[in-house]
Symmetry: D2
Subunit: 445 residues, 4 copies
Amino acid sequence: MPSQIPAIVQDRVSPRAQEYLKKIEHFVETECIPADEVFEAQISKDPVLRWKSYPPVIDDLKKKARSQGLWNLFLSKTHYSEGAGFTNLEYGLMAEILGRSQTASEAMNCSAPDTGNMEVLAKYGNAAQKKQWLEPLLDGKIRSAFLMTERFAASSDAKNINMRMREDGSDLILNGTKWWSSGACDPRCAVYIVMCKSENNKSTEEFKQQSVVLVPANTPGVTVVRALSVFGYDDAPHGHAEVRFENVRVPKSNLVLGEGRGFEIIQGRLGPGRIHHCMRSIGAAERGLEYLIARVNDPARKTFGKSISEHGTIRTWIAESRIAIDSCRLVVLNAADKIDRGDAKSALKEIAMAKIMVPRTVCDVLDKAIQAHGAGGVCQDFPLARLYTGIRTLRIADGPDEVHLAQMGRNENSRAGQLISKLKQQEARREELFRVYKIEGRSHL
Amino acid sequence: MPSQIPAIVQDRVSPRAQEYLKKIEHFVETECIPADEVFEAQISKDPVLRWKSYPPVIDDLKKKARSQGLWNLFLSKTHYSEGAGFTNLEYGLMAEILGRSQTASEAMNCSAPDTGNMEVLAKYGNAAQKKQWLEPLLDGKIRSAFLMTERFAASSDAKNINMRMREDGSDLILNGTKWWSSGACDPRCAVYIVMCKSENNKSTEEFKQQSVVLVPANTPGVTVVRALSVFGYDDAPHGHAEVRFENVRVPKSNLVLGEGRGFEIIQGRLGPGRIHHCMRSIGAAERGLEYLIARVNDPARKTFGKSISEHGTIRTWIAESRIAIDSCRLVVLNAADKIDRGDAKSALKEIAMAKIMVPRTVCDVLDKAIQAHGAGGVCQDFPLARLYTGIRTLRIADGPDEVHLAQMGRNENSRAGQLISKLKQQEARREELFRVYKIEGRSHL
Amino acid sequence: MPSQIPAIVQDRVSPRAQEYLKKIEHFVETECIPADEVFEAQISKDPVLRWKSYPPVIDDLKKKARSQGLWNLFLSKTHYSEGAGFTNLEYGLMAEILGRSQTASEAMNCSAPDTGNMEVLAKYGNAAQKKQWLEPLLDGKIRSAFLMTERFAASSDAKNINMRMREDGSDLILNGTKWWSSGACDPRCAVYIVMCKSENNKSTEEFKQQSVVLVPANTPGVTVVRALSVFGYDDAPHGHAEVRFENVRVPKSNLVLGEGRGFEIIQGRLGPGRIHHCMRSIGAAERGLEYLIARVNDPARKTFGKSISEHGTIRTWIAESRIAIDSCRLVVLNAADKIDRGDAKSALKEIAMAKIMVPRTVCDVLDKAIQAHGAGGVCQDFPLARLYTGIRTLRIADGPDEVHLAQMGRNENSRAGQLISKLKQQEARREELFRVYKIEGRSHL
Amino acid sequence: MPSQIPAIVQDRVSPRAQEYLKKIEHFVETECIPADEVFEAQISKDPVLRWKSYPPVIDDLKKKARSQGLWNLFLSKTHYSEGAGFTNLEYGLMAEILGRSQTASEAMNCSAPDTGNMEVLAKYGNAAQKKQWLEPLLDGKIRSAFLMTERFAASSDAKNINMRMREDGSDLILNGTKWWSSGACDPRCAVYIVMCKSENNKSTEEFKQQSVVLVPANTPGVTVVRALSVFGYDDAPHGHAEVRFENVRVPKSNLVLGEGRGFEIIQGRLGPGRIHHCMRSIGAAERGLEYLIARVNDPARKTFGKSISEHGTIRTWIAESRIAIDSCRLVVLNAADKIDRGDAKSALKEIAMAKIMVPRTVCDVLDKAIQAHGAGGVCQDFPLARLYTGIRTLRIADGPDEVHLAQMGRNENSRAGQLISKLKQQEARREELFRVYKIEGRSHL
């Protein structure tokens, strides 16, 4: 039984999943992590060229991974027939291992945003859409982007979206600008899944004015304006794009599910994807902790006569990081399991908990790892600073923590009526007991 | 399926345990919680009398609980034959419910320190010792205390114990003083389980000089000197005693396991007991959150025109408390499950994690609940301040957090050699890949 | 120059104040702190008698203090003629020393709530009121209470007050209940300063319906119903009372300032008093840190072969506590100085900052001190647990932290318009520079 | 009186300094901040060219600043004759304003590491060294670097330095590698101040084996190997260099102070420089808070029907940021004042406090500002992410927080003997009082 599987889920991981976990770990540790810097080195330093190709090492890794069956692990057997046949809980443990490496997720065709996009197409796409886009995505031939966020809207409230869609005969015409379209800079990105708002709403219901449209990347009128950076990283060649749509024309058949079904689709999309991010984050934290431990035990780095690992503060960091990581893992696996037992909707609370708790906790672990490395920790010699910034964005992506906290607080608060009533009943029973035992009572609620 | 059972353990809770959980919850919510203030009211305010008797309500609760089979739930079926037949994991869920009430644990004969003491006697006692002490304890006829901590020793390092034991023919003679002997003030406390150190050590090994001796409470030479308070609460009639031993004579047959086996016994004792404390703490946190929610929705307490529950800060408190509680529960259940699958020793890491994480997290939840109640929160009108102080002591009891963190950090740090070696192999593989791909390399570890 | 005076205020402390600081420190360290446990020991353990008298040691301390001129130090020379002639800043440094001891403030006639009440009387009382109440208070002959908080109202919003006042000829009749009336249990408490609301409001303005009335403690109809506890401490004989008013009749001449002036008075009252609490808290933190350092260097308490003080975690606690304390001191002294330069109203922001920052920080220092003492830390053998609970209530008293944070946030947020306008000007200037330097620009605000 | 001057220091800021503060603020807000993006835009995107020149706008700013007398403000009048005639306290307030902008410090010839280097030369340089290097530095003609940190040494303990220096006739020969040599990439950088260790130590004292040598940047054998990045930013053209020394030959007259005086020099160097960093950080935090407030009041960004600024969580962030910033300012100004009253050595504690407290607090403020901006916060459209990473490095630069905490803890802990003795005296006095008052005593320390 792989050591990172918590006792509490050991019966939930099939022998086949256990075998895969070992294979994945071996592949990630011996192939992907060593390839991470090759990947970096193969990206051109030239400001234009770095977006024109992608590192050759990635195709070699994909070939190796696929030959071992390490492919499309993310599509849960409970909900999809196209995947590798694992539960979300099992994939949770796998995704954690992928998260240790920059290249592993793509090597096994499990990288965002393609994973979420494939889920959308598998779940909501019609046969033609699946044929055209899902198949090459499952095959790792193309990549995709999800265009939701907008620069001048408070997009954590999706009703605020400004990208306009209007009908023109059998076509749709799109106008507007999206940003933080991750992956849209990649030369292999072939399709954009675009959230837009009908110019002439057929529905008066606020939640039925949004639609999801498939837009081929080379459609006239589409321009990748610029790449956004994450702290100082541009994440080339993947990138986070600002994309302008000027009278972009696509056939109506490119609508997913139909006009006005946009909300339904994004709500279906977000569930497992958030778990994927969270689980990968845990792998990032484990890697950070490994670096931390290796560093503080480096015999060349004694200070004031003793190994840094002997300092009590560092010991405490290590222990607290272990607690942080292990508790996050349980929270994520519990959410995954809840999805497996029903669907993402029934697991809203558990998913939100993971979404809020994991990134802030992992950022903290990585920050300690950085600190333990001194100046080395913030620079390119270690993966720590980059991992930190990647995880930091998860506190913002798919809605900032604060929106989720507010929502979760509101849901939890809805128990108020029932609780107040229970407290009153307990109060009444207490008064009764006071009479029985002849105690001079008091009431205080 | 009771709602507080996390998805991830639903298959691990037997139908019988589920049924018991419902019965326990009903009994605690409708009988024990209303009785908590009766219990308080039945304790005399007189500084002497308050230690001479115990509240009558407790016997009535015990009768009711036992008649429903709610008795001795804590002795896990995996390790003991004397209990109610549940796993530690199942009991973990039960103990949480007990932790909501001040009287529930004792009502079901599941209260500390008797639980740990019964475990010691069941595991290490001989037939005569079981007959004399375990049976009446299991029967709820007597109570017991565990005398370990000493005032002038750093007792988190058990080698420092000063209570002396010497042989005198077939007897043992004990001299010294213990404190924080919880329950030793209770008029029903009939036996002390005492950790002492041989005056003439037969062993030169530091860990074989301690012994555990059973001392009847009424043995001449034993004096309860005074009761210690916990943030102003004396916890009468249970109490936390300072106990003096002056030439206290007991037969050698009162030794548990034999001379020099003290370390073995306390190590066996601490495991599940820590889980019990932690799980009860989670119940305390749930109760705190219930009070918080009820309070902030009190229609009489609007400030600045809106219900306190509508303030964003409060919403965030509620959500963060929910996350805190649910993640703690998973950590504790995972530790319980690990014990079930092996023993407490194999679950050292998981137990330590729970021991460190849960009390600090629960203190934080309760502190927020206090704050939400304003001045009411710190006084006797709500159970919050008292719950807080009880949980606060758990960060000290059975070794302070810092000792556990240091130990956990040291254990985790022992991976250093293996990690450094792995990183070197990854480095070597990377250099190889750099050559394959003709990249000008660099080495940087 | 006494060592605890920060560099930055050294020029602001007069030679006379410096001399007093030395005398006060000597008196507190050699007389008051040793007397603290005498004070405790002289309080009867009997639940009724403990409220009927006060510890004799306090009168002896008062005599000694007054004979050295250590008396009424708190009334700032800037605003009152009745005091000892120091600025609020100078008194801030003095109050800190008083805060180290339980008895010191009262010994020097500087204890709450009398200090705030004397300020009210000095500032707003008429000649007769001063004669009757201020003089004996300044003389230390009587004590007083301020009755503001109510049990069933969200009293952080003072408009919610329920205590009713109606006119009856030349008299006023009061009905209602107050709680958390600190000091009202003391047998020497002779006068209550009561906030009430006119039954028939003469004013339609919400802030002109409250009045402050002086009620002699022995007025018929006044009943001290019970004492509230702070965690488990009842703070006898001072106490925190619930006080019931049933048709309590006083002459109209007992109104302070006049009907409807209540808001004005409490706003004037709260300023320096909050500074007093904060400064005393800093003294409490210093004392906690002293105990912490003494404990971890106790040669009898080595663990795992070394002094506890050598553990890195403890070293960090000590350093972080020093930083916490010193930064709080600066914040409080800055607020005091702002009051000295104008009045409490002009220092609202600075006072609020101190009120929010100091108690939470000091609680944290004391919590660490408790933890370093193990079980000893929570019990009566050290002043730590009690100090903690006292400071903890300051996060609630005079309005909970959250109300002050919300108010401060709103005030700070009122800069928004000006800031947005400044950013726009900077944007415009940047566009201009882009043109000058022939850079292809972009606009992004 | 400029509004950001705390009450407590208002008497310490001369009218001339006040006038300068206004001029500086105006210059920074209207010239430097708008120029910050011009500066960025003028840096070539080409990976080689970006290090070959520096943005022209900087020379224009320097001219403007100097013409207004805003030049060399940092050299305190207390300790240097070469500066603009302000105290460290006054400069502290100025440096804060400089910290709001990326270009302001250099524009006024107050940027690190030149400031610290000028202090070294002014304090320890001989006439020839001053002539050759200090004059052009004061004149803003050249720039400089300080080469201390090494990649493979735990350089927080300076005894570990590996850069070797040996004598060869009247020359010195240097061999080794430094990294994090900030500014060494700048094409204007003309001189390196290098810390090295004598190959044949003349002294057996560990602290007398280090020397400081001036090395012209173009000396044969010196190679800038590469630039380190800070969370993805390369900080071109300034940069953080790895610099290799291979048989680098300079005359012995390039030694500062003389062989073996290295420790003395760095200790003198670090004091005010740390204050400069801290104060600039406070300006960065103020700017972050300005952006935060502007953002949450953006009328285009309402969520769920209300302005983001109306959410309680955001209000709390704003208030807590204000408290954080204002308390940091007081701590830094107090340290500056302590230096003014003596020297950096006498202010070690105060400097360390600022060094530890300020960066972590400012990181927290900036992190909140980032979060409030959503995805915008982490990218190039706002200065926030970059400011964050710059401040984050301060927790590492000049020794990591943990080293300072450990040192501060040790110093504070040195009071232990005196405290234990005081507590014993208080204990003795208490026992005496117990006898006087006829109380049955107890002793408990």
